[in-house]
């Protein structure tokens, strides 16, 4: 023990760091900030440390070459002792880190911590969010599988829409005219050198400011921030009701960080590593690429935006969002901090959370995407074929063979791209059905060129049977007049 102490003294006599470290550790913070609400930032930092360690050891095996990256991941998963576990830690660590950064940001926003004098801390925090998402995206690319390959294609397609310089950005991003070896190499450099370098620099500045400016006091309704008086009030608060950060507040950070690390370890152990999915061979086109969890909402947005709005939304949307975040502390740098007095802030968070949650949920089900194998894999439920005429059953065959089932569901089986057809005969008359099938419209392709008249007749005969028992199908009231008294009667109803 004495030896350790004397080594410590010898080092400190030369490094001269002990006093300032002690001073930093023991700086006084308002006692209410020793709270379980103030632990998310430090937990994100600790997970980042884990990412550095697991990232470095993964780089011992990983080969950043388009020809070999995928097989080196297989080696990690199967041939290297616990390689799968390190990959799983790194993958789950990334999800936890993004989640913690977002939660930290929400807490900081709701507690008004971005207000004077912590504007720059918030701005650096916004940059930290951007580089954290940058790490998540570039990391997904390094898992050089089908999702990564086509994900890069999506990134390039978005970048290409930038006016004038779009094509040059694509070439810079891909390192050449196609997604290939140079693409992976540069994303490796970004993920391992450039973005982590920025992340470390931003974290250092962020932490420095947290220590210099003091941690945000617990917001009390009515305790209003004014530039003229705030700093004096804060110092009085820490003097009157302050505790030293170590050990007064840090123990909660330590417990929470340890709990988070344990959760990452548990998720990694139980759920294993992410992928890799199929090899990055662009000639294998039987694939449905999906982004990683934190970009799923974007995947849904890209499916729902009307074509004409897509380019402006893709190019202007992120700029507006980032600008809004950066300008926030300047637009409301003073005033109430408490969420109890800031209903719009609370509603904004709820709105964003509900929107992101809804889009993420939709992206997990992709109702906009045709179910590519429904026509061969999901038979028409027998209830729809019972007591049907030969023509109607022939129509059911056309329905399957022409892949209507890929986009339209019957009894909840099949695609969700178009409307469910269980009761289509109630909505559309015979003429409307024929027109819709042949000419399409309303986001449905026209099948006129692909259906013979006989096939169309059979298909429409089948569609006309799709109505609830006891509810007669839609019919054109003027049809009886136009075609004579007998022709317009309702078609036979089926039990």
């Amino acid at each position: 023990m004495r030896l350790i102490q004397s080594i410590g003294e010898w080092l400190d006599a030369r490094l001269q760091l002990g006093a300032s470290i002690r001073e930093t550790a023991e700086h006084r913070v308002p006692s209410e900030t020793a709270s379980w609400f103030y632990v998310f930032g430090s937990a994100a930092f600790v997970v980042f440390m884990l990412q550095i360690v697991t990232g470095i050891v993964l780089a011992f095996i990983y080969v950043p070459s388009a020809g070999e990256a995928w097989s080196s991941l297989q080696t990690l998963n199967h041939n290297v002792s616990l390689g799968w576990y390190i990959r799983a830690l790194h993958g789950w660590g990334s999800d936890f880190m993004v989640a913690l950064v977002l939660i930290h940001m929400v807490q900081v926003f709701l507690f008004g911590a971005y207000k004077y004098p912590r504007e720059l801390t918030w701005i650096v925090g916004v940059f930290l969010l951007i580089v954290t998402l940058g790490m998540a995206f570039t990391g997904q690319v390094l898992r050089f599988d089908q999702d990564a390959y086509w994900g890069l294609g999506i990134g390039a397609s978005i970048a290409s829409r930038v006016p004038l310089v779009g094509p040059s950005i694509v070439n810079l991003m891909l390192g050449g005219p196609i997604i290939a070896g140079a693409t992976l190499s540069r994303f490796f450099a970004l993920h391992v050198f450039v973005v982590p370098g920025l992340l470390i620099a931003f974290v250092a500045v962020h932490l420095l400011m947290v220590i210099k400016l003091g941690i945000n006091e617990w917001p009390m309704p009515g305790r209003v921030v004014r530039k003229a008086t705030y700093i004096k009030e804060y110092h009085e608060l820490t003097k009157k009701d302050g505790v030293p950060f170590v050990p007064g507040a840090i123990w909660k950070d330590m417990f929470f960080s340890a709990f988070i690390l344990l959760s990452v370890a548990a998720c990694a152990y139980y759920f294993g590593p992410f992928g890799p999915s199929g090899p990055p061979d662009p000639t294998i086109i039987q694939t449905a690429p999906r982004p990683d969890y934190f970009f799923l909402w974007l995947y849904a947005v890209l499916s729902f935006l009307p074509p004409s709005m897509e380019t402006p939304a893709l190019l202007i949307g992120p700029v507006v969002a980032i600008l809004a975040l950066l300008l926030l502390p300047f637009l409301s740098g003073e005033g109430e901090k408490s969420w109890r007095r800031r209903p719009i802030a609370v509603l904004t968070i709820l709105l964003v959370a509900v929107a992101l949650g809804t889009f993420t949920h939709l992206a997990e089900h992709t109702p906009w995407s045709p179910v590519m194998d429904a026509w061969s894999g999901d038979p028409i439920p027998s209830a729809f074929l019972h007591n049907r005429s030969a023509l109607e059953r022939q129509g059911a065959l056309v329905f399957q063979v022409k892949q209507c089932h890929n986009c339209h569901s019957l009894d909840n089986e099949g695609g969700k791209r178009g409307p469910a057809l269980d009761a289509v005969a109630v909505r559309l008359t015979q003429d409307q059905l024929i027109r819709q099938v042949i000419q399409g419209g309303g986001n449905m392709p026209a099948y006129g060129k692909n259906l013979s008249p006989a096939e169309t007749t059979a298909l429409v005969a089948f569609l006309e049977t799709l109505h609830p028992t006891g509810q007669s199908p839609a019919r054109d009231a003027s049809r009886a007049v136009a075609l004579g008294a007998d022709a317009g009667g309702p078609p036979p109803t089926h039990p």
Binding site: S65, A66, G67, E68, Y149, W150, G153, I154, A156, S157, A159, S160, R161, V162, G166, P167, S168, V170, N171, L172, G176, P177, I178, I179, A180, G181, T183, S185, P279, D281, P282, T283, I285, Q286, T287, A288, P289, Y299, L302, S303, E310, T311, T366, W368, S369, P370, M372, W375, V401, K402, Q403, C404, N406, R417, G440, N443, P445, A446, K449, N450
Partner: protein
């Protein structure tokens, strides 16, 4: 020593030092930036003008649409499988062809051909195209990208080179108008 302007010798030397370092930084920065921009600067060099064979014409029966693959003409040793690109070849009537890029005109995912319904469908965001490549439905703003082709010595040749993207499709024949 102080000059009449109030500038000391040390101040002057420090300013010259800054200037000297600035010049050296610029001399070093030019090649580094040039190196970084090489993917853009190389854009029009070689490879792009090459005709690449998709195989014998017999592989593409009249009236049918088949998947073809080629090795990208601009290729590096580390590219692995990624330089193998797929495309769709439609033999319209035995004489004329259409060669579509595999990439959806929306955001580049690989479209699949369904002969039964006569549609190309995209698995990502639900774009669909007719057999002639024109837009049928979904988020794409235009039809599929189409390569220039020629027939030489019984082989079908195309001029690929780069991944077509919505903002840049220089090797592409024309924009296909949707058949109303």
């Amino acid at each position: 020593m102080t000059l009449p302007t109030g500038l000391t010798r040390r101040d002057l030397l420090m300013k010259l030092g800054i200037l000297f370092n600035g010049i050296v930084a610029a001399i070093l920065a030019v090649p580094i930036v040039r190196y970084l921009l090489s993917p853009v600067a190389q854009e029009r060099k070689g490879g792009y003008e090459l005709w690449v064979s998709l195989g014998n014409l017999e592989q593409f029966p009249s009236g049918q649409t088949r998947l073809a693959t080629y090795r990208n003409p601009i290729v590096n040793p580390t590219d692995g499988d990624t330089a193998d690109i797929a495309c769709w070849v439609r033999n319209v009537d035995g004489k004329s062809f259409q060669v579509f890029a595999i990439n959806c005109a929306h955001l580049g995912c690989p479209v699949r051909w369904f002969p039964q319904s006569g549609l190309f469908m995209c698995p990502c965001h639900g774009g669909a195209y007719y057999q002639d490549g024109s837009r049928a439905s979904g988020p794409p703003e235009r039809g599929l990208f189409e390569y220039k082709y020629k027939i030489d010595g019984g082989k079908l040749l195309i001029r690929p080179g780069e991944m077509p993207t919505p903002g840049h499709a220089s090797n592409i024949v024309r924009e296909i108008r949707p058949c109303a």
